[in-house]
């Protein structure tokens, strides 16, 4: 039997852990008839969050989740592309396209190869939104407010609406909002519930600020992957393919549930006005692509950021087409699209060698 040491630093209750790892481990064990077992480490039990790449390279874990923006220097292409997430609105298209692109694009494959890891599955988050302790019912209300922002593009957007971006660890969002150190925090809406933000942030302005997809939901240590038999790899890839869909649906549901339950915790949820939506989409359309190319060139030293972004956009378009007309809650249909057009086309015997 083969044992996989897997590490994801979100808690067991987080959708990326709950569906992507806890449930997947059971599915995998059953699908392999007990041949493959997963030793799951959640939180920082095995590795600190920002060591989920180095720990994977060194074989401390054989499989990890990793937030790519934690290691921008190691993952220049990933960080360049992640800027584009601000303008993406659909979690399925995003996660499927990211997975496809990261598995098949030669530049991405070369990057993972040089890092000594094998990419096996991507993810995306539900739309980032804004949760405030002060009454906020429009972008105008956010002028001068201190908003916890997850990264430089979001920070730039905050500046563009006259707000003050603040960098605070996610562990301090709650206290920051409670004590008035922060006026708002931007994150996926499930944090209202999972981090109890609804106790302290009574106003959610539900404006979509894009998906976050940097890094991976699944990547293997290359030596470990190399020791797996083709049959084992096949089972792993197939179960990941299906689990990915369940995880994305579970993640969206968690965010929607939190938004739905929020009013019963005294939270006022305001839907973004057409005007604010238009302004944000305009920012996304005009600034985000240029920022990605600029950062890719100046900061991340990607050889051809324009080409990289163009190829990624082509992949996005391809998946928009493939997913056209498919109900985003229809797990079976989504699974079929993903498997038929991506995972079943991966040659398990040669992939990642």
């Amino acid at each position: 039997a083969t044992e996989i040491n897997a590490s994801i630093w979100f808690p067991d209750t987080h959708p990326l852990t709950k569906y992507g790892y806890v449930e997947w481990a059971k599915t995998l064990e059953a699908a392999s008839n007990g041949d493959i077992k997963v030793n799951l480490f959640t939180g920082t039990a095995l590795l600190p969050p920002n060591a989920h790449l180095s720990g994977l390279q060194d074989g401390i874990a054989h499989l990890t989740y990793h937030a790519g923006t934690y290691t921008p220097t190691d993952l220049p292409e990933d960080n360049t592309l992640s800027i584009l997430g601000f303008g993406l609105r659909d979690i399925m298209t995003s996660s499927f396209a990211v997975t496809d692109f990261f598995m098949n694009d030669p530049e991405m494959k070369a990057r993972f190869d040089s890092l000594g890891i094998v990419f096996a599955g991507g993810y995306a988050t539900p739309q980032y939104t804004i949760m405030c302790a002060k009454e906020v019912k429009s972008l105008d209300d956010m002028k001068g407010l201190k908003i916890r922002m997850p990264g430089p593009v979001h920070a730039e957007w905050a500046r563009s609406i006259g707000a003050v971006p603040v960098s605070v660890p996610s562990s301090e969002m709650f206290t920051g909002l409670e004590r008035g150190q922060l006026d708002c925090a931007s994150n996926a809406a499930n944090d209202l519930k999972s981090r109890s933000l609804w106790d302290v942030a009574k106003y959610t302005y539900n404006i979509p600020l894009g998906v976050y997809f940097a890094g991976w939901e699944y990547a293997f240590n290359k030596d470990f992957w190399g020791d797996l038999e083709a049959g084992q790899r096949r089972i792993i890839l197939d179960t990941i393919s299906d689990t990915l869909v369940d995880t994305m649906i579970g993640y969206v549901n968690a965010a929607e549930e939190a938004l739905a339950e929020a009013p019963s915790h005294g939270v006022t949820v305001t839907q973004a006005s057409a005007e604010d939506l238009a302004a944000t989409n305009e920012f996304a359309a005009n600034i985000v692509r240029a920022t990605a190319i600029k950062e890719g060139t100046e900061r991340f030293n990607v050889p051809d950021p324009e080409g990289l972004v163009a190829r990624f956009e082509a992949t996005l378009t391809k998946w928009e087409g493939l997913l056209d007309g498919i109900d985003r809650a229809d797990a079976a249909a989504l699974k079929k699209v993903l498997k038929d057009n991506l995972y079943s086309r991966i040659d398990a015997a040669s992939y990642g060698n």
């Binding site: 067991d12 401390i60 709650f174 519930k193």
Partner: protein, 435 residues
């Protein structure tokens, strides 16, 4: 070889090295390095040394530790605290062990301004213990009371441990905070009662002040009291009206202590230099231990020892009380060797499902777990708060003296725990009132 067996051998080897007087961080860190190498391979073991020290130390939340240390050192080396204890000496002189009782009160006050037990014990170690030693208190009592009352830092809000637990168990952190208030105050009262009783039986522990004080003396003493309350209140009020977070409170507190010393004209370059050097020395000492125990935590996680122990203990599982007794035994055992955050992170995935099945209230359960983790901070051989006392006091008191001193406190802490377990309302009444 079985990984669990490797884990137990590693634990034993670590204990032997500690017994041979090798510094604790090195002893458990080295054993963990080798243990990880045996379980995985040497490349992974080397990799862990990349993953842990830098990433662990470079953490915003932990900056509270040197800052609260600095606050305490400035306060004590500039004599900011002397006035308070002078007054305590006068007003609590009739109370057996008055200064120790006053220390409990001061720790409780400090806990309301600090998120971590280690930070609380660090600052109070320099404020309260030297004063007690000056009045010829038994060194075990003088150190034990602060090491123990320092653990209130995690029970009285704010609390880093509660934030972690709330995050994992998906319960409201603010409710956890509120739930901790009554058990925290109860712990303080129990500690005080124990001190008074013990000193009554054996007055040598804390010599009584026999002098008679005039009204003028009392009034003069009162006038010297203000610096410490102003410091703690300044920090508290700042946190509660939202000027700064509990993490930043340490820096503000250190700054405020310097300002207060300047106002009282007791600030000088030697005083400041002494405070800075002591802070650096204590911080480096504490973090060497923390890094070692964090590495040990990773080694233990890989070996499966915590899971093994949990399974063995929870085999008897079932009803509420059995689960709590098993968890108590588990946490007291792990608390002997591991740091509190490590224990919490390693065991929650195992024990939360068990607790859920037994129908235990997660807020109440969280308070119980934190109380258990607090007890682990003062039990030998790895008792972080005891090491903090030792690091803060240098050669004045030996480690075994402090451990001997905390024995009584461990017993009373377990009694307090039993009360918290027996009366869930103590934890749940305030949060329920809120809703």
């Amino acid at each position: 070889m079985d990984n669990v067996l490797i884990g137990f051998i590693g634990l034993a080897a670590g204990l032997v090295l500690i017994g041979l007087r090798i510094q604790i961080g090195v002893a458990v860190g080295f054993v963990s390095f080798i243990g990880i190498g045996v379980i995985l391979n040497m490349k992974a073991a080397w990799g862990m040394l990349t993953a842990v020290p830098f990433n662990f130390v470079g953490d915003w939340n932990l900056t509270a530790i040197p800052m609260f240390l600095l606050m305490g050192y400035v306060a004590s080396s500039s004599g900011l605290t002397q006035g308070l204890f002078k007054a305590m000496r006068i007003f609590l002189s009739r109370l057996p062990g008055g200064l120790a009782v006053a220390s409990v009160g001061a720790c409780a006050l400090m806990s309301a301004a600090s998120g971590s037990s280690v930070a609380t014990a660090s600052s109070m170690a320099r404020i309260a213990t030297p004063e007690m030693l000056r009045y010829r208190y038994n060194p075990g009592l003088a150190t034990g009371v602060v090491a123990t009352a320092g653990t209130l830092g995690s029970l009285i809000p704010p609390s880093i441990l509660m934030v972690l637990y709330g995050y994992y168990a998906e319960v409201s952190i603010s409710q956890l905070f509120i739930a901790g208030i009554v058990p925290g105050l109860l712990s303080a009262v129990m500690l005080s009662l124990m001190i008074i009783t013990r000193v009554k039986i054996n007055p040598e522990l804390a010599p009584r002040v026999e002098e008679v004080f005039s009204a003028q003396e009392k009034w003069d003493a009162l006038k010297e009291v203000w610096p410490l309350p102003v410091l703690v209140l300044g920090v508290l009020v700042g946190i509660f009206i939202g000027l700064f977070t509990p993490t930043e409170a340490g820096a503000v507190g250190a700054f405020l202590a310097i300002v207060l010393a300047a106002v009282r004209r007791t600030l000088s370059w030697p005083v400041l230099k002494d405070a800075i050097l002591s802070t650096l020395s204590s911080t480096a000492g504490i973090f060497m231990v923390v890094i070692g125990t964090v590495l040990l935590g990773k080694f233990m996680a890989l070996s499966g020892v915590p899971t093994f122990i949990a399974k063995e203990l929870l085999m008897f599982g079932g009803d509420e009380l059995t689960v709590i007794i098993m968890v108590t035994v588990l946490y007291l055992a792990l608390g002997m060797f591991l740091d509190s955050i490590g224990i919490l992170l390693l065991t929650l995935p195992i024990i939360l499902p068990v607790a859920r099945e037994a129908g235990i209230d997660f807020i109440w359960f969280g308070i119980i777990l934190i109380k258990l983790l607090e007890i682990g901070l003062i039990t030998p051989p790895v008792g972080l708060n005891v090491y903090v006392m030792k690091a803060a006091l240098g050669s004045i008191v030996s480690l075994q003296e402090i451990f001997r001193g905390v024995t009584w406190f461990v017993i009373i802490e377990i009694v307090t725990l039993a009360i918290i377990v027996a009366f869930p309302l103590l934890s749940l009444w305030l949060p329920a009132l809120m809703q």
